[in-house]
Amino acid sequence: MTVVNDAQPAVITARHTDNVVVGDEIIRHRRITRLMHWSVALTFFIALFSGMPIWTPLFAWMAALVGGMEVARIIHPYAGSLFFIASVFQFFHWLGDMRFRSDEKGAWKPSKLMAYMRWEENTTDEGGKFNPGQKVFFFAVCLGAIGLLLSGLIMWFPLYFPRIVRELSILLHDITFIFFLIGIITHIYLGTAAEPGTFRSMTRGTVTRRWARLHHPGWFRDVDKKG
């Protein structure tokens, strides 16, 4: 019972406010942010499960998840369109937090990347609410969503386009998707198993102080100063 009582203020605050400290927790994503993120995720996964069986027969079994190949073919373009719309909202919602900062310039040195992947990076580093990798992922998803939309529209209405355009759009759709496939596996891994305490920022909306200091020290400092 005490746990619930302690938890309530943070959860209530997380409905409308983020980047503030409430008790032992810090609000990382307010409710609208989480709704938006899960809208993108849900539409992405419907499009994924309806698109992959069409992509290759190796994943034909996925068609069963959406009701068969014909259903997959029908719902895929709609799910994809909704994914694009959700991605547009996401773009404008997060754009402010995703600007690259001058102190992130060194982040792309291979030694630095390797250090990050070995969990060795210097925790006194500055940085904003999101780290450079998250920002690159964000912009890649936005760019990819445009690529998928344009090629997907051509594939949705093939009769209105010349053959060569259709071929190129299928290629573009496939190549873009492959980047998404690599991206989504990595994104889910980093957001769940690899970095414990991250997933709750997208469910409950909050993270612990220890989590914030470890993963986003610059953001933690700013939020902590604010109180």
């Binding site: 259709r166 690599i182 198993a193």
Partner: protein, 288 residues
């Protein structure tokens, strides 16, 4: 119209087990002699009748041609190409239909398992039970043949009357042709017939007559005698082949993508095994 009795040689979007029989059947083919076609359109009518296709409105485009292009309910169209060659007017009629390629671009492009099959006798057919109507086959076809049927949501095209072929009958169009410009039999016989006719034409002055059996798609099961070696005059591609885009997509990009996906999974599990979760140091308390 998928055949229940013919063995399948190749099947779309299938990685293994595509062959359903071990017998070696002769490839069948239709022979079209454009030089003896009189443009009576009996084949068009016979095709509509045998295949129970809806009557499609004709269109008047200043030519005798029934309509500009093949449609989902019109699988056999005589093209009336008017052209001038060596100062002489020429009326080049040609039977436009599915060519039943030995290496079908439609089958290569199709993503639905079993939706396009090539029977052991070479006939390429759409299986409506499995077709999802995505139209990839139209993208893969070098002859622009498969058409989307809005009513069924499936693709439709000439079946080479597979339901007649499987009981040993010639296609309806061949049955109806009054001049004998259409013929049906094994591919070998039809090619022999074509070579004979080409020789006749050459002897009577058409020096560059050819038998159109494009090798870019492995040869076709519709072989056409042309009196001019200029297929484009007949609305035929000069060198049709399964396009590079379809090949790159199916044979390069897709396998690479599958490998990339699995490698990423392995990398993620490997990373977790080696480095484990990234936890904050245990000694940090509330103080900043």
């Amino acid at each position: 119209m998928a055949s229940q009795t013919l063995e399948i040689h190749r099947s779309s979007a299938s990685m293994w087990g595509t062959r359903t029989g071990i017998r070696s059947l002769p490839t069948v083919a239709k022979y079209v002699d454009t030089t003896t076609c009189i443009g009576c359109k009996a084949c068009e009518a016979a095709c509509q009748e045998w295949n129970d296709l809806k009557r499609v409105p004709t269109s008047q485009d200043g030519s005798y041609q029934t309509m500009p292009k093949l449609q989902a309910d019109f699988w056999n169209l005589i093209k009336f190409n008017e052209t001038e060659i060596d100062g002489n007017f020429n009326w080049l009629m040609r039977k436009d239909q599915c060519m039943h390629c030995a290496e079908p671009g439609c089958l290569a492009a199709c993503p639905a398992p079993g939706a396009i099959v090539q029977y052991a006798n070479g006939i390429v057919d759409v299986n409506p039970d499995s077709c999802i109507g995505c139209g990839y086959c139209a993208t893969g076809c070098p002859f622009d043949v498969p058409k989307f049927h809005a009513k069924t949501g499936k693709m439709a095209k000439c079946t080479l009357c597979v339901d007649r072929a499987e009981v040993g009958l010639e296609p309806a169009c061949v049955k109806a042709c009054p001049t004998g410009c259409l013929s049906y039999g094994t591919k070998d016989d039809m090619v022999a017939l074509g070579i004979l006719r080409v020789k006749q034409l050459k002897d009577s002055g058409f020096k560059d007559a050819i038998l159109y059996d494009p090798q870019g798609v492995g040869g076709t099961s519709v072989v056409t005698v042309l009196k001019y070696n200029r297929p484009e005059l007949y609305d035929l591609p000069a060198d049709p082949h399964v396009s590079m885009g379809v090949k790159i997509w199916k044979q390069v990009v897709r396998p690479l993508g599958v490998i990339a996906g699995f490698l990423t999974m392995f990398a993620v599990f490997g990373h977790y095994t080696k480095y484990g979760p990234k936890e904050p140091p245990a000694d940090e308390g509330r103080a900043a």
